[in-house]
């Protein structure tokens, strides 16, 4: 006996199924019950309390949140959304910054011309540069506003003292990130702004060659706090390379690590602050 042949559906049946919409349900069923689908998506999308919880708890990006929060934390008037916006702007600078790194060389001879190349020859180069710079400036503002909001709501008070301290570090690193990036265009604006900024280091008490009590330590213009920062006694190519490495690797890693602690501590300290 021959094996039973699969039934060939008649055209009329198919048309009827399409017309009634039944065929879409069948296709959906095949897809949703497939091994690929069930291994990728662990729960349904229907708006049930269970799915609302799973949507947060089973998602690596969203599980930073608790599954439930106090309703007052939803109020934009309370949070100003500034912490979240600061983080988003940081992510924007990471994405645009990595793209810029493909075209930019932190070498005295090349840096400025790479900027010109980026602006005039690279597709969307100018846009990437603009987004990177404006996001960085905006981030400085939003992080200050975030801090102001946290102060005004007294959110640094127990049990959140430690997270406030981490936050102050993050404000500082935000400024340092922005400052080290300021040198990289290697134009007049960059060089002299960083000259003004780093000149302060040579006035460091004890460790700067023009600072108070420097004569007792014996630091020199070639060997003091400022020269460590610049890799020389003026803002030259070694300073450019140093600022580049600090800007692209060291400070983002440290700031990123502190952000992990900062976000984790929000959860551990009982979630976003609110009236007790």
């Amino acid at each position: 006996m021959a094996a039973k042949k699969p039934e060939i559906p008649s055209i009329a049946d198919l048309v009827a199924k399409v017309k009634s919409g039944e065929i879409f349900d069948e296709i959906k069923k095949v897809i949703v019950e497939s091994q690929v689908w069930t291994s990728s998506f662990r729960h349904g999308y229907a708006d049930t309390p269970r799915n609302r919880v799973l949507q947060i708890a089973s998602n690596v990006w969203l599980h930073l949140h608790p599954v439930k929060i106090h309703r007052h934390a939803l109020r934009i008037k309370f949070t100003w959304c500034m912490g979240g916006i600061t983080f988003l702007l940081f992510l924007s600078t990471v994405v645009t910054g990595v793209i810029l790194m493909f075209y930019y060389r932190p070498v005295g001879e090349y840096a400025y011309f790479d900027m010109k190349y980026l602006q005039y020859d690279v597709p969307f180069g100018m846009l990437m540069r603009n987004m990177h710079r404006w996001a960085a400036h905006a981030m400085v503002i939003t992080v200050w506003l975030h801090m102001f909001r946290v102060f005004l709501t007294g959110s640094y008070k127990p049990p959140r003292e430690f997270n406030w301290v981490i936050g102050v570090f993050l404000v500082t690193f935000t400024l340092l990130l922005s400052f080290t990036g300021y040198l990289l265009p290697w134009d007049q604006l960059a060089m002299w702004a960083v000259t003004v900024g780093t000149n302060m280091a040579r006035a460091t008490p004890f460790l700067g060659n023009e600072g108070p009590f420097a004569e007792y330590v014996g630091v020199t213009p070639r060997y003091d706090a400022r020269s460590v920062l610049l890799g020389g006694s003026l803002v030259g190519p070694p300073a450019l390379l140093r600022f580049y490495v600090l800007h692209c690797i060291f400070i983002p890693l440290v700031a990123g690590a502190l952000m992990i602690v900062h976000f984790w501590r929000i959860r551990k300290d009982g979630g976003i602050s609110g009236p007790l």
Partner: protein, 251 residues
Amino acid sequence: MAAEAPKDKVEGLAEKVHVWPYLVRVEFLCALFTIIGLTVWSIVIDAPLEEAANPTKTPNPSKAPWYFLGLQDILVYFDPWFAGVVAPVLIIVGLMLIPYLDINPKGNGYYTYTERKVAIWVYSFGFLVLWIALIIMGVFLRGPGWNLFMPWQYWDPHKVVALTSVDLPYAFGVRTYNMAMLFGGVVIGGYFALGTAAYLFLERKAIKAVGLLRMLIKVQLYLIMIGIVIKIVLRLGFNIKYVWVTPWFNI
């Protein structure tokens, strides 16, 4: 900036609500508007790129990045070791100390002015006046030679400003170097000693509850903050350059 969750809807919810969808929705809208804003801004306004860096050509004025201009402006009134190094360190350390110095249990997690007036005044003064206002002044009003120019004035690089400032001991008739050093030291030391004593006296009832060490640190930070303002007034109003001149440092 972003769409607010409708108030009546939020009020009608239970005490605790699901993050999905209530919070994620707000965050998504916030992110959307931020990214749209950033993109539009980046399309409309180009980041500046001046001529290539040239170490032999110093622009006048040379300005630090805008967020440091408050500190650069303090350089008018203080030497670099204070304005550029000690002041920023004090700001950072002082900010970190806030939760440990302000032990007022009220106002934890909600907006209130009446329950913590001093804290709000001090922070707002430091942030809005000493930080933001000085930055605005540094960005818009400081021209060549770091001289003050109103927005409608021409940035004249040859503007002549009389350098008539003298040191405080000199203004009081002290003429020898050693006596001037002594005079300045007494003034600065006296300022901190009297300020501390006055604060502890006025707040004597709080010493037991707050703790002496906490109060001592707090009042030093207050006095430094007020001292910066006093120095600015002395310089602008009375042409005083330094209060205390020593062989090692000047204040």
